[in-house]
């Protein structure tokens, strides 16, 4: 499974995590997460995914976007990630990830987003 294929399972993973949705209750934001070359548009409403679109969406506006290389996500989603790949900011510091746009909704809900973007760790290990 490619990293993008793993991320495509996000709606099911989030639906199964009632605690994460509880913690995101006040969150409403539109953002774009790039898994390597593949963009995903997330429409988050009250902590749940109201819409999840894989692939480019021309002129779709988002509050912020987060881009990680395939390699970064592959490392990040290991069951026990290696040092330097275990956190979004560890990866931005090493240059494997970048975050752009209005960072306010991200920082206001930072633990939610960190946990959301780590959910693919729960899938079976990539071979």
């Amino acid at each position: 499974m490619t990293p993008a294929d793993r991320f495509a399972r996000l709606p099911d993973l989030l639906a199964a995590d009632t605690d994460l949705r509880r913690r995101g209750h006040w969150l409403n934001a539109d953002c774009r997460i790039d898994i390597g070359a593949e963009p995903f548009h997330l429409t988050l409403r009250e902590g749940g995914l109201a819409d999840f679109a894989r692939g480019p969406r021309l002129l779709r506006s988002v509050a912020f976007s987060l881009h990680g290389t395939d390699d970064a996500w592959r490392h990040h989603w290991q069951k026990v990630p290696a040092p330097g790949w275990h956190d979004l900011f560890a990866m931005t510091k090493r240059g494997a990830m970048s975050i752009n746009g209005d960072l306010r909704p991200l920082l206001q809900n930072l633990q939610y987003f960190k946990d959301l973007l780590a959910l693919p760790r729960r899938l079976p290990e990539a071979s």
Binding site: V80, P83, H86, D87, F89, R94, Q108, L110
Partner: protein
């Protein structure tokens, strides 16, 4: 049934720091009949002395050491000095050094060991640079002469972002994934409880004022032994940062701690114990 009590006791001590009166909270534990080598513990930025509660309750340690952990002014149960409301809190190399020396002086500690983590580790390096003869040994956890910043501290104190939650969420990534969830969340809880702008004010020392590059070369470990220990999952002070610092200090002992992050004593006390007990054994010998 008799109450189940932890061995440490907490009190307040009055200190003058740079001529300003302070009321500082500390906890201590030591041998039942008194004595013990004084071991002063310095918590990380934006946290408090609870990070050392496992050390303060470790029978193997407190049978030989009198462990003291204080809350820095503005942190934990140490209130800010009178008039705090009229300015912005900013820790500096000078004020932090003065605080540690004032505490050791007020408590009449005879050549204590000082162990600090993160900003506490950085100030330990400064103690080694400027005041080595006052100490029996110095232990710097997660410390280096300088580290590359990894976020903008302006996010830590503004009305549209919850300070406690953003501080905890930022530093959560500095905890190793192997650390037990209970200890992880206790470590985060302390960050959620910091006063407004306090973590940010501590980082002024860390990021702006406390650059010790070049200065660490003057450390003489013959005057006071120095130990550096850094967790492999710490990407704020990386193992490479610590090893680079150690390479400039003849006689220093350095270790990279496996499966630990930036908060070894609170995020995984059992694992940290494996690393710190041999160091304390050497000091007590």
């Amino acid at each position: 049934m008799a109450p189940t009590l932890d061995p440490m006791v907490g009190r307040y001590v009055r200190l003058d720091i740079d001529g300003i009166p302070h009321r500082v909270y500390f906890e201590e534990a030591g041998p039942p009949d008194g004595g013990g080598i004084p071991l002063v513990c310095l918590h990380t930025a934006g946290a408090d002395n609870r990070q050392f509660r496992h050390l303060l309750a470790d029978p193997e340690i407190i049978r030989r050491f009198r462990v003291l952990a204080f809350d820095m002014p503005w942190h934990g149960k140490s209130t800010p000095p009178d008039g705090w409301e009229g300015g912005e809190y900013r820790l500096t190399t000078a004020s932090y050094t003065a605080t540690v020396r004032a505490f050791c002086g007020a408590m009449e500690l005879d050549r204590p060991v000082v162990m600090g983590c993160s900003i506490g580790g950085r100030i330990v390096l400064n103690l080694a640079i400027g005041h080595a003869a006052e100490f029996r040994a110095l232990i710097a956890l997660e410390a280096a002469d300088f580290q590359k910043p990894w976020y903008d501290t302006a996010w830590l104190h503004r009305p549209d972002v919850h300070g406690g939650e953003v501080c905890a969420a930022l530093i959560s990534g500095l905890i190793a994934p192997q650390s037990p969830p209970v200890n992880r969340h206790e470590t985060l809880w302390m960050y959620m409880q910091g006063g407004p702008g306090v973590f940010k004010g501590d980082l002024y020392f860390y990021r702006v004022d406390g650059d010790l590059r070049e200065k660490v070369k003057t450390i003489d470990t013959r005057v006071c032994p120095l130990y550096l220990l850094t967790g492999e999952y710490d990407f704020s002070c990386t193992a490479e940062d610590t090893l680079r610092t150690a390479a400039q200090i003849p006689g220093v002992e350095v270790q990279v701690m496996k499966e630990l992050g930036h908060f070894p004593m609170s995020e995984n006390p059992a694992r940290f114990r494996e690393y710190i007990l041999p160091v304390l054994d050497k000091i007590a010998r």
